[in-house]
Symmetry: C2
Subunit: 264 residues, 2 copies
């Protein structure tokens, strides 16, 4: 690893592993940065699944003994570029998810995924991966939860937008809401600082399946936060109990026959 | 009006109207209280649409010139009891909505509604009504938004549950999330104080279609709030613009063909 993104990833993973993290989540497009100027630039940054991004994380997962979820710029079939995230454990690539809901100029660079959310069994429990704007689609989170996800790992790059003083970013609010609504832990690793004219929220948060944060959000009122490694203890198995009280439950209470989820 | 519930409703409506409110939202089961001991007690409290609950609010709406949404215990066909909310304007009943998602012991007392969310044109814009737990079902809020709701009026009775210090109640967080996700204003009138061993959050909030509160939440960290009349200026027409940025939109970004909304 000899580029700045890879060095930052390497340092962050080692810091988290030293703190005892068994699951380590990195931001969206962790190696390359987010703000591409053209599809050509994005394609130059993209790597296939046997390229250095995945290979480097496989090595790190073996060295640290941790499950790692990292966003990266993926070079797919026929030169297509995807905003993806890998799940790596014991030096092996367990799965790769391609972001299904693209934000703003991403559709100039990336081909969206068409598959179901990635939900797989890992050493830290049944894990789903969604990327950034995906997490704002409550039905997409529900689809992952219905597939048995105990923890959702969400690499994010949340651009900093204006908000009232003292208010948590709505991106964090939405993550809390779906964590509580579907009783699933959500681990958000967000980008911080500045990049080519874009300020990032730096809103990393580890949200328990109660909907309340166990750590973070890292951001404050005064703009983008500095890089930070958040840690928390989560009980993955607790997400299997979908009860919301003596008479209520996540799935039991839904009335899908009444819902309209199309596009008017 | 000669019972305590009706007197409180009367005073609150007049206070809100004096403050210039054109839309006035009252809590769930505003007249009768929420904590019934038996179906018999609930049925005794229930009134048909030509009973004193609706008649009293019709009179108040005419006197104050305001649109009023009020939760009430409705006596339906064949003696069925419903947890309902009325929409009244210019002395006329515009519509009545029956809560579709029942919480805890409500299913002992109430027959749930099977109709779509009530969405109707009023003097203050296109108005939807959902009741309490309904608002926690993001697909139900989306169904109302898809029917053109500019404002959702939500009579609530949120029981006070334990939460971490400094955290907003998750009920408020969920309301913010769906307001922002579907770009619809949400006006929550919540119950406060104590009732037969139940503490209420008192979390009334007027949430703009940005997802951020324009007024409230009324509750603090230190238990149930006292009764309060919250007011805010909302621009109903702004909810018609579903753009979320130059390249994104509430409906355009959804991929319902990928979503699974059933019950596993």
């Amino acid at each position: 690893m000899d580029d700045p993104g890879a060095e930052a990833v390497d340092a962050a993973v080692r810091e988290a592993a030293s703190a005892g993290a068994q699951l380590i989540v990195l931001p969206e497009l962790a190696f390359s940065g987010y703000v591409f100027e053209s599809i050509e630039e994005a394609r130059l940054a993209a790597q296939p699944l046997d390229g250095p991004y995945v290979t480097g994380i496989r090595r790190l997962s073996q060295e640290t003994g941790s499950v790692i979820v990292a966003g990266f710029c993926e070079l797919g079939e026929g030169g297509a570029v995807h905003n993806s995230a890998m799940v790596v454990q014991d030096g092996e690539l367990l799965g790769c998810y391609r972001k299904a809901h693209l934000w703003d100029r991403e559709s100039d660079f990336f081909t969206p995924g068409d598959a179901a959310p990635l939900v797989i069994d890992t050493a830290v429990g049944r894990l789903a991966v969604l990327i950034c704007y995906d997490l704002e689609m409550s039905d997409w989170v529900g689809t992952a939860a219905a597939a048995g996800a105990e923890i959702i790992a969400a690499p994010c790059n949340w651009p900093l937008l204006e908000r009232p003083a003292g208010e948590r970013p709505l991106e964090v609010v939405k993550a809390q809401a779906v964590a509580g609504a579907f009783k699933v832990h959500i681990v958000v690793a967000d980008r911080c600082g500045h990049e080519r004219g874009v300020d990032w929220i730096g809103g990393s948060v580890i949200c328990e399946n109660t909907g309340y944060p166990a750590a973070g959000p890292a951001t404050g009122d005064d703009g983008p936060a500095r890089p930070v490694v958040l840690t928390a203890d989560l009980d993955p198995a607790s997400s299997r109990n979908k009860s919301l009280g003596p008479r209520n439950g996540v799935w039991d209470d839904r009335r899908p026959e009444l819902y309209w989820i199309g596009c008017p």
